[in-house]
Every structure is written in structure tokens, then in C-alpha cells.
């Protein structure tokens, strides 16, 4: 899914959360949104999700200005977006399995197919032993993985991940990142992820949009690696050692 922000501003009273922000994320991109707390990263995700209404400017998803459309179109767009919320947003009196099934039901997946789809994502995030538990019975990391499972279950065109590794240990953080990169490369799913985890950012070589004080500070494209040049350098180093 293609995401375009055109001169978007968002004010909360006198506070400017975002100020004249413009960028384009192409379909199939994996983009990190970085910046200090309160910089406006979550606001960008909430605007994409139509959770916030921009004070000015336009937001296009696959070329459609989402704030010009009827609510039913917004519902349809949301069904194509998988969200991993910072605060998980899991329904307290439903089990993890039921939370995932709900997302599938909302997406109109036939009831007969839901158990298999739930089974698949639960196994993907290693939550098989926790599937019948309620959110209050899980740890922060397990909740994060549950939210990820729900987002993946609907096979979305776009995944919005707000600090998805915030509550995860390194092992689970890497598992989550691997899952996201696999989905990005295999399905062409667009991924926008906010994070403070510099290890992950540096190791992945993806586009990084840095947000500061509600504005885009830098927008760095991934470094195009010249494989021939790298291999040539490696070969020269090996020769020198000999």
C-alpha cells in the first residue's frame, strides 16, 4: 500500500504535533520512523489509521485521500492495515485466540477458515501455550506478540508497528523483526515501524525517516550495496592477510 503525506499538520490546541509534514512511502517499502518521544511518530501512524484528523494537508493511501471519503471506505481501508499498537489494544475479556479471530471476522474471513488462520499466526509468534489466556494473564512481551499475531492474521497490505519491540527481550525482538522483514519481502507488505532500537535500525539497512519537533528532520534512503565492490574488497583483504 502506497502512503503519501502532503503538507500535513496536526495541532492539539496550541501544541503542534506535526507541522507541514510531507513524504511518500511506496508500496512494499519498509520504513523506520525514528525520533525522540513526543516528536510526532505515533501521530503519523494515528493519522494513517484515520484515528486522528489532520488540521491541514492531505493523506493518500493507494492514491485515495482518506479524509475525503465516507466512513465505510475508511473501514475498508483499515481492514487492509495491520496495526501493532504501543499499548497493544487487545480486548480484555477475550482470549488471545478470540482477539485474533475477531480481526479476521471483521475482515470478512469465512468462519470455517478462521481457526486455521488463527492457528497459523499463533504458531508464527510462538504463543501456542498462551492462546486460551486473557490479556491480563500475559507478560508485556507476550502481549506484544499477540498484537503482532492479530496484525499478521489479516494479511494486510500495510503494517503500522508502534514500538513493537518496546517490551520484548532481544531474542523475541529479533524474531519479530525477522517476521516483519519476511512478510515485507515475501508478500510486498508495506511496513512503517516506529522504534528507538538503534541495533535493529542499523542492522537492517532500511529507509529511515527521522521526526523531530513535529517535522521531518532527515529522510535517508537505504544504502544501495554494490555487491561486486564488497566482494572485491573482501577478496583483497584476504589476499593481504596471506
Amino acid at each position: 500500500m502506497n502512503v503519501v503525506f502532503k503538507n500535513v499538520s496536526k495541532h492539539f490546541g496550541v501544541i503542534n504535533a506535526l507541522n507541514d509534514v510531507s513524504f511518500e512511502i511506496k508500496s512494499g517499502d519498509f520504513v523506520f520512523l525514528v525520533g525522540p518521544s513526543g516528536a510526532g511518530k505515533s501521530s503519523i501512524l494515528k493519522l494513517v489509521l484515520h484515528q486522528y484528523h489532520p488540521s491541514s494537508g492531505h493523506i493518500y493511501l493507494d492514491g485515495e485521500d482518506i479524509f475525503l471519503h465516507h466512513k465505510s471506505i475508511v473501514d475498508k481501508l483499515r481492514r487492509n492495515i495491520g496495526v501493532i499498537f504501543q499499548d497493544y489494544q487487545l480486548i480484555a475479556d477475550k482470549t488471545i485466540e478470540e482477539n485474533i479471530a475477531l480481526a479476521l471476522d471483521i475482515n470478512g474471513v469465512p468462519a470455517s477458515e478462521i481457526p486455521a488462520r488463527v492457528e497459523k499466526v499463533i504458531n508464527q509468534v510462538n504463543l501456542n501455550s498462551r492462546r486460551h489466556l486473557f490479556p491480563s494473564q500475559l507478560s508485556g512481551g507476550e502481549l506484544q506478540r499477540s498484537a503482532l499475531a492479530r496484525a499478521l492474521a489479516v494479511e494486510p497490505k500495510l503494517i503500522l508497528a508502534d514500538e513493537p519491540t518496546g517490551n520484548l527481550d532481544p531474542e523475541n525482538s529479533w524474531m519479530l523483526i525477522k517476521l516483519l522483514t519476511d512478510i515485507n519481502s515475501q508478500n510486498g507488505t508495506t511496513i512503517i515501524m516506529t522504534t528507538h532500537n538503534m541495533d535493529i535500525i542499523q542492522s537492517l539497512n532500511k529507509r529511515i525517516i527521522a521526526v523531530k519537533n513535529g517535522a521531518i528532520a532527515t529522510d535517508s534512503q537505504p544504502v544501495v550495496v554494490d555487491i561486486v565492490k564488497v566482494e572485491k574488497t573482501k577478496f583483497k583483504k584476504k589476499l593481504k592477510r596471506k
Binding site: K71, D75, I106
Partner: protein
């Protein structure tokens, strides 16, 4: 979880609110059904008197046979006459003796000469009674007195009218209260599940998708209240049917017709589900704004 399972889940999660909703609905339908049963009884009483319209014309003493025959001939000329019975003085005496057979002194004292001869006229159309009454009252030299059920019917009509008005007002008020209570209860449940609704909306659920379980919940309250209310009313009416029907004998005030109760039950279920649906729809419309 389909919407019906979801509605059932909501009911189980707040049993007191659900119980209040069903109770209010039940009371409403109990009063509605009792009102219909009583109204039906009143109509039967009225019908009984209306379908048995009679007028009794007492004749003056000393009329010759030809005059009596002329009067009888005139009566037969009215439309809708079912039967004309002439009660001669002798027949009147035998009736009197029959009515007072336990009081021999009275029967010995009274002779045929002091009892008036009369015509008992029954008609199929009660409006003709008024006409007969007016025309025969004018024959003062032949007619002594006229008695007919106009007053009874008038009084019955008044009572039926009062009962109907009071019934309709009280049933309407109770239905309105029920409607508002269900609407408020659904509103409270929506407020309790605000988080779930807003999460579902973020996941792409349509407005109708999140409303559906609450609408079904309202219909469940309506159906349950309608069913229990109707059955309670039937039970109560049948419990008192024997004594009430004995009092109104030969009229069957409390109906014993099973199809009447099946019809009432169907009506209660249909009305209940409609009230439940509309009330929950109003509640959902007011409270689901995200």
C-alpha cells in the same frame, strides 16, 4: 464469535442489567396481555347484550283481540325482527307463579287480571329497538310501559370505553418506560464496552458490525420479556377464569379459546422484538459515536 454469541456474552457479563431489562419488559407485556384479555372479556359482555337485543312492551288492560293483533302486525313490519312473543295475562300469571313458587301467599293473592299482557320482541339489529320504543311510547292508550336494554348497553359501553382508555394509556406509558429503560441499559453496556468497540473500529469494523450484537441483545430482551409476560398473563387469567366466568355466566369473560392465546403470544413476541430492536437501536445510535 458470531453476533448472537457476542450478544449472549454481553448478557452474561452484566447479568443484573440484563435481568432488569427482561423484568421491565416482562411487566410491560404482562400488563399489555392482561389488558387485552380484559378488553376481550368486556367486548364479549357487550356483544352478548348487543346480540340479544330485546324489548318488552307492556299493554294496557282491556285491549280487545283485534287491537292486540294489530299491534303484533305492526311489530312484524319492522326490519330485523327475530321473534315476537305474546305473553297473555294468563301466561304472565303462570310465569309469576313459577318465579314465586316458594311464596304461596303471593301466588294466591295475585290473579291474572292484575298482571299486564306484554310483547317480548327480540331483534337482530339493536338500532331498531330505539325506533320501536319511540313509536310505541306514543301509543299511550294501548301501551302501559316499555323496557329494553338501552340503559344496560349504554352503561356497558361507558365502562368499556373507560377501561379501554385507561388500558391504552397505561400500556402506552409502560411501553414507553420500557423502551427508555432498555435504551439506557444498552447505552450503559455500550459505555462499558467502549474500549472493545473502539478497538474493533480501528481494526476496520463497520458501524453496523459493532452495533449488531447490541441490536440482537435488545431483541433477546424483547422476545424473553414478551414470552414470559404473555405466559404470566395467561397463567394469571386462567387461575381466576373459573370464578370470573361464573360471575359473568353465561358469558365467557376469560376466553378459553387456545387460538386467542396463541395469537396473543405471537403478538407479544413480535411487539417485544420490535420494541427491543428499536430501543437498542436508539441506545446504540446515541452512544456509538466513534
Amino acid at each position: 464469535m458470531n453476533p448472537t454469541q457476542n450478544a449472549w456474552h454481553h448478557i452474561r457479563r452484566s447479568p443484573i442489567q440484563s435481568l432488569v431489562a427482561v423484568l421491565v419488559m416482562t411487566i410491560s407485556f404482562l400488563s399489555l396481555n392482561l389488558f387485552v384479555i380484559v378488553s376481550n372479556g368486556m367486548s364479549d359482555v357487550l356483544k352478548y347484550f348487543e346480540t340479544k337485543p330485546e324489548i318488552t312492551i307492556f299493554l294496557k288492560d282491556g285491549l280487545d283481540k283485534t287491537t292486540v293483533e294489530n299491534l303484533q302486525q305492526e311489530l312484524t313490519s319492522y326490519p330485523g325482527i327475530r321473534e315476537i312473543k305474546f305473553i297473555s295475562k294468563d301466561k304472565a300469571l303462570s310465569l309469576y307463579k313459577e318465579q314465586n313458587k316458594n311464596n304461596p301467599i303471593l301466588t294466591e293473592m295475585v290473579t291474572a287480571s292484575i298482571l299486564p299482557a306484554s310483547f317480548e320482541v327480540s331483534v337482530s339489529n339493536p338500532t331498531v329497538l330505539e325506533q320501536i320504543s319511540q313509536n310505541f311510547s306514543a301509543k299511550k292508550d294501548q301501551v302501559d310501559e316499555i323496557i329494553y336494554q338501552k340503559d344496560i348497553i349504554k352503561s356497558l359501553l361507558n365502562w368499556t370505553d373507560i377501561i379501554r382508555k385507561v388500558g391504552i394509556i397505561s400500556v402506552s406509558v409502560s411501553t414507553l418506560i420500557t423502551f427508555l429503560i432498555i435504551s439506557v441499559i444498552i447505552g450503559m453496556k455500550i459505555t462499558n464496552r467502549k474500549e472493545e468497540i473502539s478497538i474493533s473500529r480501528l481494526l476496520g469494523a463497520s458501524n453496523f458490525y459493532v452495533k449488531k450484537p447490541f441490536l440482537i441483545e435488545g431483541i433477546i430482551y424483547g422476545l424473553t420479556g414478551g414470552f414470559v409476560g404473555a405466559l404470566s398473563a395467561f397463567g394469571l387469567s386462567q387461575f381466576f377464569a373459573k370464578s370470573i366466568n361464573h360471575f359473568f355466566s353465561p358469558i365467557t369473560f376469560i376466553s378459553t379459546n387456545i387460538s386467542f392465546y396463541i395469537y396473543l403470544l405471537g403478538l407479544s413476541l413480535a411487539l417485544g422484538s420490535m420494541i427491543g430492536f428499536l430501543a437498542s437501536w436508539l441506545g446504540a445510535k446515541r452512544y456509538i459515536k466513534f
